[in-house]
Structures are given as structure tokens and as C-alpha cells.
Subunit: 442 residues, 2 copies
């Protein structure tokens, strides 16, 4: 019979940055913590907070438990007074070593660490299961959005066909602003950096590394397999031009950076990150600003979308708190959830064989016969054109093509030949088009 | 230590309509059931299906387990070969008695029964907890959308401020079509009935009874209290006119039937169903056709929206299957989730004290001085006007007002006096306006 925790569950928090400080506030500020205990029936007590540098300024709020701070994370994890460990350090080491220590001591772990979970999720999940404790990581993907729990629990029996996510707030902010204002990538990025909405080195966001780690985690949960990060195809948003966004809109599409995990064969899945043209009536097209959303397609459930704040101290701490309460309930009842990622016999396929429709923008000489030459190149590679628009540009012309579905391999060969052609001045934007059997029905 | 079920978990299904038949397909069709077992690590075996009438035609699919059918639901529930009961009968009795029998025998129950859970959710949850087994009911609200699990688990520690849902597909279909085509309510309803998208007696849907039951369930989960159905204020969509939809759009709003559970004081909550004007840039405004969505606002999480198919055999069966797998995992590990609804000291307030902005459409005599008389009535009741539009109508005029926030009580008194006024021909549409601190950021 399940019991409520009469004695509190004692938690160690490793890392006290934005998310850690917000979690401490949720658990220590009397204005907030009462609601948590009331609603959950679980009492959580912080017994230690490990930080890198004790001398750094922390919250001066009266409820802040400054006396619990330590610089020795390993000692805290091993301390007998600690029932559960919350890892908010980020990066692979020392986070991995600390988590392994905790799990081996039979202490459940909650982590928000996308790099670590993307690279060692299966191994750590197996270690948690072997030790009969939980490893929860809702906050590692899309902040407050309950996508991990939905994939692990609600859809535990679902045959999932595709997961597509807007999982990086910085790039969605940049693309939304480029779309709203017609401004160029470099200008919007500079503004985002000035306003603190992008990192000083924005590479991880704008080149899709952050989204790729999240794509690997989502694929592992949706399809039961470990996807090495190097098998995740990755293309960022730095080549997206405002002119492409304007043409896409004219054709009825928004451009979004998507993390996609898709079943493409009985045991084959594709995991990739790239900017994509999303039909304007698709729910993902309407996710603006720095918001995140994950769109899941299941054979029985149909389409589902989960939307919310994908970053920020409080939203992320909220997801961590949900995980802490679940792990605490299981700890009190001496049980644990099954391993998050099951190792099924699945293979991440290379992107070459994938089929999608494409948007291609070409700057060509403004001469008779140019279109015939370009069309022949498409035809030679079995690329069928769905529509074409021509725009004049001084002594050049711009041709915008939307193709029918073609393989990545055929398209790459086509682009190579177009680049070599004497009538093509330059190949501009190349974008994949998302096709959906389901729209939002409106 | 959690174990995988080597021996299958044996399930009895009560009711074999749309949802029951879809669940049997998910569990019995070899093309589908393999994926379920692979992903979940749990084997589910159907050991009995209780129906009202054995002679009715059922599926002729080769996998359909016709030999497991029985007309004796009570005997099936009590049978020693049954580990878990799935109730898909609907309505209060005999569903309640059967569920109580199962729980008392220590058998977890999964139910999709909104009427029963709305009226007896706290009692049945307590009975499940007392017997140490699960009572799961994800499918009772919004079909495949994982809103119950999100409220019970992900947001178990969250201070929730408001839940607003589009939880009835029929009314959302009607309102979306009225909006898209400018057609009138009665015509669209007739078409929906002809196409099988509305029941032959559509009262439960169009007058908001279905949404009210779901609002009560959502309120119970979000705020930890039982809301008697009679404390849920309820207004349907039958008075919504296409002209109001057109004016709302002109002001920047869509009209949606919302089920709302809102914290309005330290221990006071408001639970209500009514058509509402939703800002066009709010994610709920973009939920079209028969889709459902639930928008949750939390103090730490910020806004979250969950979107998907709220009805239909397969989407609903998908939610049931997620619940079955969770209950099976807990059964194997001899544990159970805590009661879904905690009985906290909360009170559902009457709608009179609530504040919101209003849309009011008045047909008035087209004479000088009319506006002054109307404005005086608003002023006398402390209603402040935010904007007004006048439209000519032969020898009448139509005045469209948007007010600032006012109480329901003041607005009711205002409407009464307007109806008595000699310059007012008729009071047309009256709609509440949803205000949001958060929009979708675009």
C-alpha cells in the first residue's frame, strides 16, 4: 500500500545556477513550498547544496539555506543524510561520476543535463534500474514541457511514427523575429546577444548542437534505442535568409528549426536537426518567440502537441520538481520506474535515403533558355518540380522551386550539378518541407 | 527492484463500443501488440470482455477474441484470473459498482468515464488508495491528450493558477466552422448531426454539460478538491451568433467554448464553462476543427498547452493503454500511485464575484441621445467601457461594446437595466473576454 512520507525526503542539490536557485526557492520559500507539500503530499527537505565557489554571491532571501552550501559534491552525494540527488551542473564530467555514485548507493537521481543524457542515457538508465531507483530527466528537453513523461508513460504502448520539436528557444526567437520584421539573421542574432537572449558564443544554439542532443534523447525515448550523437544529422539556421522566409510565407509555410526523430522503416529511424518549411496551418508553425513545442505522431493517439517554456530558471525548476516528487513517492514506496530507454534493435539511418520535398532558391542569368537548362538538371536526377516562381533582379533572375518528394542523395547530386552549371550564378536557400497527413483541422 | 512482467498482466475489459473495440485491437492485433510489448516491456493479456448483448455484431478480424465475451460483468470482475479491470461502459451505474468491486478485490482500474469521475472521483480515488491499487482515468478528459498525467505527476508540486480547456470537439467543430464560413449555429449543427459529428440529441455537448464534467475533473486535479457538478457554472454555445464571431474577430478575438478552473483567492476556486473571446495570438485561439487543447498556467512552469484528438476510438484507446501499462507496471512492483485527487480545503466560489472583461452587442433605436442613455446605465453600475463600435441597421443601430474588467454581479444588473431601457431594442450577444498575462510570444 502506498504511503505518504511522514518523514521528509532529503535531497542534495548539485549546482546552484539559474535552475538550482529557482529549485531552492520552490522548496524553501514558505510562500511557495506549502503549496508543493499540500498538493503532492510529500515533504522535501534540502540537506545540502554543492557549488563550485562558496564565495560567489547567492540569494540574500531570508529563506535561502546558506548554511547548507558545500564545495565538496562527492562527499555530499555519499552522505548518509542524503536520500536523493538533483544534478544541475551540466556537461559530462563530473556530473556523470556523481550520478553514478548516487545510483550505486541506491539514491534516485533527477537531472536536467541534456549533454549527459544524450551521450550516456541508456547506460545511466540501466544503472538506475539495476540499483532499483529512479533516474528522471524531464528538464533535459524543452524545460517545463512534460514531453519526457508523456513519451515514457502516456505513450508507453504507442507505436510512435514521428516526433518533431521546436526545442531551442534562441533559434525560434531569431527565426520568429526575422519573419515578423523581415530582418536579416546577423542583425537579429546581434540583438539577441545584446539582450542576453543568445549566448556570447551562440554556436551551440544556432548551429543546432543543442537541438541535436535533445533530438537524440527524444529518439531514444520514442523508439527505444541509443542514438550516438554523431548519427544525428545537423544543420543550423545561420544560412537562413529573410528572403527565404518571405518566399516560404508566400507559398504558405513558416521556417522553423526542427529536431526530428522519425520511423522510416521497420527498424530504421532517422534523427536530424535542420531548418524546415512547416505549413502555416500546422500547430508548430504558430509557436512564436522563444517558446518550445514538441509534436508527436502516434499510430493510435494521432497527433499530439505539447507547448510551453523551454528554458529559464523557474520553468526548468518546475520540471525538476515534478521529477523530484515522483522519485520521492517511489522511494517512499520502495519502487522505481522502469528504465527510461529500452535498448531495442533499432538503427539510426543516414540521411541520404530520406525523402522529402525541397525548397530551392537559385540566382541565374536572365537569359532565354536558362529555365530549360535548369529543368533538365532536375529531370536528370529524377527531381520532379511542384511549382516555380521567377523574380527579376537587375540583370539576374531568381528562381524559387518547390519540388515533389526526392531523396537527400538525389537532391545533393542535383545541387552539385546546379552549382557547376554556367547559367546558375549561385544556389541560395535550400530547405526541407515538412509534409503532414494531419493538420490542425481548421 | 522493479521487475518486468514475465507472466502477462491479465485484463478484463468492460464495454466494447468504439473505445473498447479499439483497445482490443491495440492489444490483440499482432500488427500492433508487438510494438506495445517491445516499447513497454509489459505483456498484457485480455482474459474477458463484458458486453450488454452477445448477439450484436463484433469485429470479424481474425485476431478478435470472440471466445472471451460475456454478458456477466460482475462475475468477470470477481474472477480470480483477472488482475486488472478496464471500465469503458460510461455513466454512473453499473460502472461505479463494478469499479468498487474491483478496487476492493485489490485490482487496479482504468476508466474513461467522465460522468462517474466528475461525480465520485474523490471517493473512488480514496477507495483505490485504501486498497493499494491504481485508479487511472487519462481518457476521461480530452482523449489522447495527456492532461491527467501532467496534472497528477509533472505538476504535482506546481502552484497552478488557471486551467482553460477546449475539451469538447463537437462544439469546437461548430464554432470553428461558423468562424471559417460565416454560417449560423443552427445550420452548422444540422450539418454536424447529418455527418455524425454531433449526437442526435446534441444537448450534452452544445449546452456544455460534457465540458462541465471535464471542468470538474480538471479542477479536482489542479486544486486538490472535489467540485460538485452543480457548482460548475455552465453556459453552452447555442446563443452564439455568426455576427458576434465576426465582430470578435474584428476586435482581435476568436470565440471558443472554454472549460475553466481558476484560483481566485487563497482557498477559492472558480469552475465554469462558457463561450469566451480568446485573443487571436493566444495558442487556444488556433485550435481548430474538432481538436481539443488544455492550457495550464503555473506559477513556476509558466504557460503550458497540450493539444490533440479529444475523442474517437483509437485516440481514446491510446490513452487507456497508457494507463493500463502504468497500472500493470505498478501491479508487478506491488505499488500504486497516490490518490489522484487530494482533498484539500478549497471552495468553489459562485460566479457572481468573478471579474472579467465583457463583449456586449446591443440593438438600439437609431436616435440622437441613445448612446448617452446607454452609457449612463453602464456608468451607474461601475462598468467602464474600453471600446465601442456602431453599425447601422435600417432604422436601428447596433452598438458593440468591449468593457474593462467588471464583476458578473454588476454585469448582470447592467444587462437587466439595459433590457428594460426604452432605447434598447434587444440585448444580443454577451461574451466574456479571456485576458492573458502570457501570450505565445510571437
Amino acid at each position: 500500500m502506498p504511503k505518504e512520507s511522514v518523514t521528509p525526503v532529503r535531497v542534495a542539490i548539485l549546482g546552484c545556477g539559474n535552475v538550482g536557485a529557482a529549485l531552492v526557492e520552490l522548496l524553501s520559500d514558505p510562500a511557495r513550498s506549502g503549496e508543493t507539500a499540500d498538493r503532492s503530499g510529500i515533504r522535501i527537505e534540502i540537506v545540502g547544496i554543492a557549488v563550485n565557489d562558496l564565495k560567489r554571491d547567492r540569494s540574500s532571501a531570508p529563506w535561502f539555506p546558506s548554511g547548507l552550501m558545500t564545495e565538496n559534491a562527492q562527499k555530499l552525494v555519499s552522505d548518509d543524510s542524503v536520500d536523493m540527488v538533483v544534478e544541475l551542473i551540466g556537461g559530462v564530467e563530473p556530473a556523470k561520476e556523481l550520478i553514478e555514485s548516487a545510483l550505486k548507493l541506491g539514491k534516485p537521481v533527477v537531472s536536467a543535463n541534456k549533454e549527459l543524457l544524450a551521450q550516456h542515457g541508456v547506460e545511466l538508465s540501466a544503472l538506475a534500474e539495476a540499483n532499483g531507483v529512479d533516474l528522471n530527466f524531464e528538464a533535459a528537453v524543452a524545460g517545463a514541457i512534460p514531453v519526457i513523461r508523456t513519451l515514457r508513460e502516456s505513450l508507453a504502448g504507442e507505436s510512435i511514427t514521428r516526433v518533431m520539436g521546436i526545442v531551442n528557444g534562441t533559434t525560434n526567437f531569431i527565426l520568429s523575429k526575422m519573419s515578423d520584421e523581415g530582418s536579416e539573421y546577423a542583425d537579429v542574432l546581434a540583438e539577441a546577444m545584446a539582450r542576453g537572449l543568445a549566448e556570447r558564443d551562440p554556436t551551440a544554439d544556432v548551429e543546432g548542437f543543442d537541438a541535436a542532443a535533445k533530438a537524440a534523447i527524444l529518439a531514444g525515448l520514442a523508439f527505444g534505442c541509443e542514438i550516438p550523437l554523431e548519427r544525428v544529422s545537423r544543420e543550423g539556421i545561420s544560412k537562413v535568409r529573410s528572403v527565404d522566409i518571405a518566399f516560404a510565407r508566400q507559398f504558405g509555410y513558416a521556417i522553423k528549426l526542427l529536431a526530428i526523430a522519425e520511423k522510416v522503416g521497420p527498424k530504421e529511424i532517422s534523427v536530424r536537426v535542420h531548418p524546415a518549411m512547416v505549413p502555416l496551418d500546422h500547430p508548430l508553425a504558430q509557436v512564436g518567440g522563444s517558446y518550445n513545442a514538441v509534436f508527436i505522431e502516434g499510430a493510435a493517439a494521432g497527433p499530439l502537441m505539447l507547448y510551453g517554456q523551454g528554458a529559464g530558471g523557474m520553468p526548468t525548476a518546475s520540471a525538476v520538481l515534478g521529477d523530484v516528487i515522483e522519485a520521492a513517492r517511489n522511494l517512499v514506496n520502495k519502487t522505481a520506474a522502469p528504465a527510461a530507454v529500452r535498448s531495442l534493435d533499432r538503427e539510426a539511418v543516414r540521411i541520404d535515403d530520406l525523402r522529402s520535398a525541397f525548397y530551392i532558391s537559385l540566382d541565374v542569368l536572365d537569359q532565354p533558355g536558362v529555365l530549360a537548362k535548369v529543368a533538365k538538371i532536375y529531370g536528370d536526377h529524377n527531381i520532379s518540380i511542384r511549382s516555380m516562381e521567377q523574380v527579376g533582379l537587375d540583370d539576374e533572375a531568381r528562381l524559387i522551386f518547390l519540388t515533389h518528394e526526392a531523396t537527400e542523395r538525389d537532391m545533393a547530386a542535383t545541387i552539385q550539378e546546379l552549382e557547376r552549371s554556367d547559367v546558375v550564378d549561385s544556389v541560395g536557400g535550400i530547405l526541407r518541407v515538412v509534409t503532414s497527413e494531419e493538420s490542425n483541422g481548421s
